[in-house]
């Protein structure tokens, strides 16, 4: 029986090329978008390199002060992170790093753009970068203001070429030479708090802002590491209380806001104190996914109704020769599932191609997107849901059709 359904399904698909094209296009296109989107989210949210201790870390990326008519928002200062966040009891370590800055450097008269950032020594304890060679700078080196650098794998290749080891060699950035002491695996730019080509001790920063800026606001990020995941709440509360006690720096401000949040929350932080970024993002993604799915489904239902009604003579004949309504519903659902699975297959192939293109075009630095099995599974599931959703209703309507009416409609 199933084989016959398959036969008629394929025959119908082959003969109704336009309909097949529209349906397959709708399904595969939607699925591709979903797959690429999930691959992206999956990568950004799910990949925990190099902050593998995410479950016991809180992220501080913003500090704002507000007054009646004014508001000032930026990452916190080095001073704030060491003196205020640093005074908290719960964190066992605090990773501090500046945002990344861009500059140019020259190799054999070829200009290359590099990003560098400054970090403290604990940064390398809190985060678990994979070292391909060498190691990170320690507290001693930072305190001495040693001109040493940890560079990324890509940077090594771009600056030094295809050589096995570069530790001990010098790299120039912003007209200063630094001794390379370690090479780490790349971090995608989507992990904006952790990404860089070159990592330097904060003490070598030319502007000396870490010393001179005694205000709350600056250009540094902090990651507070707790002893265990169960201490996160305590750490969060301690931070909140500390911030609440802070007096505003200037009299036009009345309130200081800053939060130590979990990874996801800090990632989607909008800087808006009154509405949580997480809420907005989750709502936005759900609405987007919903619309993305509902439109082609409705479209498919619509096409399916027309298509099935077009085949009313076939329905009439089948009923006349002994098909019960239920058998017919079954037949049309199977047909639809075959169609949607076919669309799903095309969608998956399309996604693989799209992801390959995104990866090879290197649109987003160091971001390697890949289809994983969860995503694939979700994709196939979505396809089946599509198949059922778009097949059940038309099939049910069709099965109600009176034989004589079905035969008359031509």
């Amino acid at each position: 029986m199933l084989k016959n359904y398959l036969k008629i399904a394929l025959a119908v698909l082959r003969r109704r090329k336009f309909f097949t094209f529209i349906s397959l296009f709708g399904i595969s296109f939607t699925l591709t978008i979903l797959l690429v989107l999930t691959a992206f989210i999956d990568k950004v949210v799910g990949d925990n390199y190099p902050d593998k201790k995410r479950d016991r870390s809180l992220y501080v990326s913003r500090l704002s002060q507000e007054g009646k008519n004014t508001m000032s928002s930026s990452p916190p200062s080095f001073y704030f992170l060491t003196h205020y966040a640093g005074s908290l009891k719960t964190p066992v370590k605090i990773a501090i790093s500046s945002g990344f800055n861009g500059t140019n450097t020259y190799v054999n008269n070829k200009k290359i753009a590099v990003n560098y950032k400054y970090t403290n020594a604990e940064y390398w304890d809190v985060l678990e970068y994979d070292f391909l060679e060498g190691k990170a700078f320690n507290k001693q080196q930072v305190d001495n203001g040693d001109k040493v650098a940890v560079i990324s794998q890509d940077m090594k290749k771009e600056y030094f070429g295809d050589v096995p080891f570069v530790a001990g060699q010098y790299i120039e950035a912003d007209n200063v030479k630094y001794r390379v002491i370690g090479v780490v695996k790349n971090v995608p730019i989507t992990s904006y708090m952790l990404y860089s080509d070159i990592y330097l001790p904060y003490t070598v920063a030319k502007d000396g802002g870490y010393k001179t800026n005694k205000g709350y606001q600056g250009g540094y990020y902090g990651i507070l590491l707790a002893n265990s995941a169960s201490d996160l709440d305590k750490m969060h509360n301690e931070y909140e209380q500390m911030v609440q006690r802070l007096p505003a720096e200037q009299k036009q401000f009345t309130k200081v806001n800053s939060h130590a949040d979990t990874y996801i929350k800090s990632y989607v932080d909008t800087g808006n104190e009154r509405q949580s970024g997480t809420f907005i993002v989750i709502t936005a993604i759900s609405i987007f996914a919903f619309i993305l799915m509902i439109l082609p489904t409705l479209n498919l239902v619509n096409i399916n109704i027309t298509r099935i009604m077009e085949r009313s003579s076939e329905i009439g004949v089948r009923k006349a020769f002994g098909a019960s309504s239920r058998t017919l519903v079954y037949q049309f659902i199977v047909e639809n599932i075959i169609l949607t699975l076919l669309g799903g297959l095309i969608g998956i192939i399309l996604s693989i191609i799209v992801l390959k293109v995104i990866n090879s075009a290197n649109l987003i630095a160091n971001l390697e997107l890949s289809i994983n099995f969860t995503v694939l599974f979700i994709g196939l599931l979505v396809c089946l849901v599509f198949g059922l959703l778009s097949g059940v209703y038309p099939a049910w309507r069709m099965s109600k059709l009176n034989v004589v009416t079905a035969l008359k409609a031509q």
Partner: protein, 221 residues
Amino acid sequence: MIRLQNIEKVYRTDTVETLALNKVSLEIAKGEFLSVMGPSGCGKSTLLNIIGLLDEPSKGEIRIDDQKTANLSDKQLAQFRNKKLGFIFQSYHLISDLQVLDNVELPLLYRSATARERKQLATEALAKVGLSNRVKHFPSQLSGGQKQRVAIARAIVGRPEIILADEPTGNLDSAMGNEIMDILIQLNRDEGTTIIMVTHDENMAHKTHRLVRLFDGSQVQ
């Protein structure tokens, strides 16, 4: 074998009420070849559809093989049609997406038969209507007369006791019409199949055992 008692059929639309059949009583014996004639709109198709259990009468009772059909469920009706009845339509109603052989196999899909049995029976049925050399064709590649012969093969493939034919020669020229008629007569004579045929053609009607005439929903002969 078939017994109609005081069958009435009323079609209601928003504006008019049509009495398509008015107190028709009819008894058809096993092996009989019956033709139904009458002017357009007099209720011939309606009568045939009711006998074929494709439509329900508004009033009256039908018995086929001494079985009342009024209270059968959708599934039971489907099975009943599958076993006992074969249909031939004026406009063939072949499934255009399927090849001739698959079209003929159709009734066998709804009973238990293996793919091999189906193929064999369908091939035999096609041989009976003289179309053994057209099994791989699609309906659109056939002439009207050939299409109707495929439709006959489909109607007889499941060996039903009753064949209902609504103007089977209506779309054909007289030569092809005669061919179709010969096949039906032979079927009736050799296999004893009961045939009820609606026709507009007096010549065809005279080749059958009995003629029933309808006028405005009532039986006049």
